[in-house]
Symmetry: C2
Subunit: 351 residues, 2 copies
């Protein structure tokens, strides 16, 4: 083969894989109206200065199973930082092998959500962190038990004093939550190919992915899934146009209705943030759908009233896979040593 024919083949391959620069630039400008890249620095959080000492403490707490009454379940059990920040289960397994009611949302980039949980009942990550620790089907502990546990270990005394300087009684359930929030603010995943695209390097997304992005905007996905997290910013009924079957949308879970007691919030949920979505199957609050293409199809019929074609579904899914960012690298923490004062594990399930 001559060098010339090889070159023209390569040129052809590039032509197939990447849209023309002009088209890409139009798409980029349109995309910028809807989406924002993940910042490469740790974002600030409200009413909680994110310091290095607080992050270090929060990391210990995030991985410490002794925040649960069994001493077996940590935040990382259901929000596994090696697995996209969730547990890849339909719904989580907690204290006494009890099944939780909803699919565990990822902790990655959660700092960018408008509020936490599928129904947004926690206004921020420090409020969220207090929930699972106390939930009987999750970590089954209590503020008093957590405080007694942390106060029993000298290394925690030191770490809390450093993270909350000048406070009279630095170890508290509130400060536990603040430290965890500070650590979680570091769990962001910048540098995805979509972020690079948004920053102007349109060549990192191939033709199929760009076509998927165009469809994502044109069919209306982006009206709910926008912003930094492509979701996580607002509340919408699951089934705007057509309710999915009870297998996907169980009748017993009425979503935000339980929070607001407002009739028109029945089956309303926070739009799922789509960052790293390929890492966090199964999908939806019910965790009933394992396949991302199937999830896209369901969204089409239930939210948009669109029977997306197989080709459209493939393209949108290809686009969604460009949302996988650089996963946070974490040095596994060495945890404080227990003392005779540390409350003993409680394995029994109290109902």
């Amino acid at each position: 083969m001559t060098t010339k024919s090889l070159r023209s083949m390569l040129a052809c391959a590039v032509f197939l894989a990447v849209p023309t620069a002009a088209l890409s630039n139009d798409l980029l400008e349109e995309a910028k109206d809807y989406f924002e890249p993940i910042p490469s620095v740790v974002p600030s959080v409200k009413n909680n200065a994110v310091t290095g000492d607080k992050i270090e403490l929060g990391k210990m707490l995030f991985f410490d199973p002794r925040l649960s009454s069994s001493a077996l379940i940590s935040c990382n059990t259901c929000h596994n930082l090696g697995m996209g920040g969730d547990d890849n289960l339909e719904t989580s397994i907690g204290h006494g092998w009890q099944k939780g009611p909803r699919n565990a949302p990822t902790v990655l980039n959660a700092v960018f959500n408008i509020a936490q949980f599928w129904d947004g009942r926690a206004e921020d990550l420090k409020a969220q962190a207090k929930g699972p620790v106390q939930a009987g089907v999750e970590m089954a502990s209590s503020p008093a038990r957590v405080e007694a546990t942390l106060k029993s270990m000298p290394a925690y005394e030191v770490a809390f004093a450093k993270a909350f300087p000048g406070e009279d009684s630095p170890i508290s359930f509130d400060n536990m939550a603040k430290a965890i929030e500070a650590f979680e603010a570091t769990l962001i995943t910048p540098y995805s190919r979509f972020d690079q695209f948004l920053e102007g390097n349109t060549k990192v997304m191939n033709e199929e992915e760009q076509a998927g992005l165009q469809l994502f905007i044109d069919t209306g996905c982006a009206s709910c899934h926008a912003g930094v997290n492509l979701g996580g910013e607002g509340y919408y009924p699951f089934g705007v146009v057509e309710k999915p079957g009870a297998d996907v949308l169980p009748a017993g879970d009425k979503g935000r209705f339980a929070v607001t007691q407002t009739a028109d919030e029945e089956y309303v949920f926070r739009a799922g943030p789509l960052r790293n979505i390929e890492l966090t199957a199964p999908y939806f609050h019910s965790g009933k759908v394992w396949d991302l293409e199937q999830a896209v199809a369901i969204m089409g019929t239930s939210q948009l009233g669109e029977d997306l074609s197989d080709d459209e579904i493939k393209k949108i899914t290809a686009f969604l896979k460009t949302l996988t960012g650089e996963q946070p690298r974490v040095d596994y923490p060495i945890l404080p040593v227990e003392t005779s004062e540390t409350p003993k594990p409680e394995l029994m399930v109290v109902k």
Copy 2:
């Protein structure tokens, strides 16, 4: 205060805290007959070359909960590297919240033990690694399920091919165990104060600790708890002189008898390795004793026929706390992404 009186006070303090150099040197020479320091390099293991690629793969596998059928329990669940390499529970909690029969031994320095498990039924760490993965009360998986799981994820295909170059079918249950063994060989804790003492720096152990070491040798503890791990090298009846109560030594667990079916091996267990012992409460195969001083007292009466005085117990315990070494620092692994081929979690308990 004059400089001179300050100096003489300091001299006095030093005199109180550290024995004379001559006494320390005698003790050091005696100690060297019984004990060996932990090497500062990763030891080799039999029939399994420890390579960087194998260690990296082994680390992923060690932290991957998808080796369990629930996709919730990893090696690190019961051998938590942030908590001394065990779970600080009486006996471990496994699949379906079932309680395991014995206290989880630490994985730290386990590579130096003569054999694995409390009854030594696994000859090495690669044999050990296959046990909990299959045990119904632990991870409740099977070789076939593990292989199907690993083969379903392209990133594991790549990692196994790198770790086991030239093999036709690198993903296998055997190779899973070999990779875990290679990673576990890195989980050693050198540079404890006792190691520094053994290397000749006798000043790192104070008077009480050195007195404890002397007692540890003189009362006979060191006849079973010797070598690199101060234990883990041989099998002995629990209750050589006097059987402890059924609360500490439950009648139903006959130890090595179940392995060898030899009558005189009833209630015979591997002498517990004592490295990092202050991090791994509760103690004994039953996990019934939370207090290290109490454990020392029980060993005195049951194994040596000695009612150790409170002062002796305190000194021996002080010595045992010099066995805490530098804990291994591990970068938490980002795990391979599941595919549609990955077996789904099985949460039911099959009895």
